[in-house]
Amino acid sequence: MTSTDTSPKHADTVAKGLSPWQLALRRLARNKAATFSIYLLLAIIIVCIVGPAISPWELDAVDWDHIGAAPDLVSKHYFGTDANGRDLFVRTLQGGRISLMVGLLATAVSFIIGIAYGAIAGYAGGKTDALMMRFVDILYALPFMFFVILLTVYFGRSIWLIFIAIGAVEWLTMARIVRGQALSIKQRSFVEAAKVTGASHSAIIKRHIIPNTLGPVIVYATLTVPQVILFESFLSFLGLGVQEPMTSWGVLIAEGAAQMESAPWMLLFPAAFLAVTLFCLNFIGDGLRDALDPKDR
């Protein structure tokens, strides 16, 4: 900046601008349930990352002395062991890594694809829009379970397959939401104003359409993470999920459910982690929805 301004006497200077994002973050910070959930979720993530290193047990190490044993601090099986004598503390946290990674990564991927696809369709409108959304409808109509089963039969079980399968379903809804938003946002006069100042289509989509669709999509994404985690659990429950000795909360819950009466801890710990995570994500999603409420802009 050139400083030709020689009048430092401005007492009533203009306050430094806060962006709508910063304002939303402030509103979010005032939401106790959401803030608490964010910290709790962060704690769960950190425990899942560092926890297994604290335990002396390995993911697939069998403790022949403690098979199907209850939680016990002396043997350092904090959550007990499973029917094969493997440490449940390590397995629950390792499973959490997989579940959270699948949830966050698949959501992130579908977020990016969905936003790009939906924004282009909504902004283009007309025939392009109709064609692009028809394609989404067709993918929607495909029986995805069948698709996933076919893929696993063909390529074997793999974590990447789960990513692809889940991402492929989830971006469809994102694209629909963004497209609906884009349709209404392109009517707003700042888009017309950008057009009449000679902005290119791609600049309008990037600078004007996408930032304005982001609010509702972020909320939806937050609520998608639990959906994805549950979907992975469901696939694992059916035996289509991650491959042994790797595990996920879904796999552990499936195994635990089978031993529910004889060894309730096998179900209790992974189920509690999953439930708390899902609650946190839902509270965060609700908090974000309130914080990003467009009526406050």
């Binding site: 050139t2 203009v14 707003r188 000679g198 290119s200 600049a203």
Partner: protein, 339 residues
């Protein structure tokens, strides 16, 4: 004066589920360099669509026909790529609602700088300097700090000033203002009009001012075009329209204008023979605006017109020269002239 914009037989149609809407039906007029023109008419008369068509803003279901020349270049129905060389650079446009005219997620500086970077090969720094100058020009206080504000931190009037600054950045030859004051408080309205007048006086920019509040802009405009149901029904100098309105619709429109009471204030500088003053108290125009899907036969205004008779029911009158620079499309005004 050289001709800046010439519109020839422009029509705009919309394909809707209910049928074909003829929003603009064969409109022709020109704007000279340095001239300010008001386009008035009730909501739905097709005022906005005339300019949306020439700026390439029609939605997918809209179609424009006719000829539009800007500075000797045909611009109607040109692809966005071609229009983007003119839009923002030679023609600036201001919209009605300042609350949605700026992107809430971008600092106003970013939105201003962007325009300059698109049209002039300019560094960010230079562009920012010009943007600050322009904000000062539209009387935004502390422009140097304000440029880093987000739109939600500005009042409606200030946002409209920013929008005007944005339209002015590249010093366009023509500014189109589509009801720039309709969404604002009355006091702010006159401030914005004063600003536009100041811009016109200092930069000699041509202006097309769309409004349904004629007295408000009377001090700013030289010529008035009155539209009804997609047609131009009357055009003339401001005085012609104010004091010698020939078309029954123009007369009714003036009588129904909210700020007609402010008229005297607006025109203090030249007290005219204001003999219709008493009639110009708020009174709604009788009847409904025409259904765009189902326009009446003959003169589109005839169902609401006190003078309507035979020719009005069956045949639409064309614009005819009444006096120099004054045209009207009404069977009755024509009779008066001919007899």
């Amino acid at each position: 004066m050289s001709q800046l914009l010439s519109i020839n037989n422009l029509s705009v149609q919309f394909n809707t589920e209910g049928g074909l809407i003829k929003a603009v039906r064969g409109v022709s007029f020109a704007i000279q360099a340095g001239e300010t023109v008001a386009i008035v008419g009730e909501s739905g008369a097709g005022k906005s669509q005339v300019f949306h068509a020439l700026m390439g803003l029609l939605p997918g279901n809209g179609k424009a026909q006719g000829e539009v020349d800007f500075f000797g270049q045909s611009i109607l129905n040109q692809p966005a790529r071609a229009l983007n060389k003119i839009r923002g650079k030679d023609i600036g446009m201001i919209f009605q609602d300042p609350m949605t005219a700026l992107n809430p997620y971008l600092r106003i500086g970013a939105q201003l700088v962007e325009v300059l970077m698109v049209h002039k090969q300019m560094s960010k720094r230079e562009a920012r300097k010009i943007a600050i100058d322009m904000l000062e020009r539209v009387h935004i206080k502390q422009a140097r700090q304000r440029i880093d504000s987000y739109p939600h931190e500005l009042s409606g009037g200030m946002r409209q000033r920013v929008a005007i600054a944005m339209a002015l950045l590249c010093q366009p030859r023509l500014i189109i203002a589509d009801e720039p004051t309709t969404a604002l408080d009355v006091t702010v309205q006159t401030e914005i009009i004063r600003l536009l007048k100041e811009i016109h006086d200092t930069l000699n920019t041509s202006m097309a001012l769309i409004t349904h509040d004629l007295p408000l802009v009377a001090g700013l405009c030289e010529r008035v075009i009155v539209m009804y149901a997609g047609h131009i029904v009357e055009t003339g100098s401001v005085d012609d329209i104010f004091y010698r309105a020939a078309h029954p619709y123009t007369q009714a429109l003036l009588a129904a204008t909210p700020s007609a009471a402010l008229l005297n204030k607006a025109r203090l500088d030249e007290p005219g023979d204001d003999k219709n003053q008493g009639k110009r108290r708020l009174q709604a125009i009788d009847g409904q605006p025409p259904d765009p899907l189902n326009l009446p036969a003959g003169c589109a205004f005839h169902p609401r017109c006190a003078y309507a008779d035979k020719p009005c029911f069956s045949q639409e009158p064309d614009l005819q020269q009444l006096a120099s620079g004054k045209q009207v499309a009404c069977w009755h005004s024509l009779e008066q002239v001919q007899s």
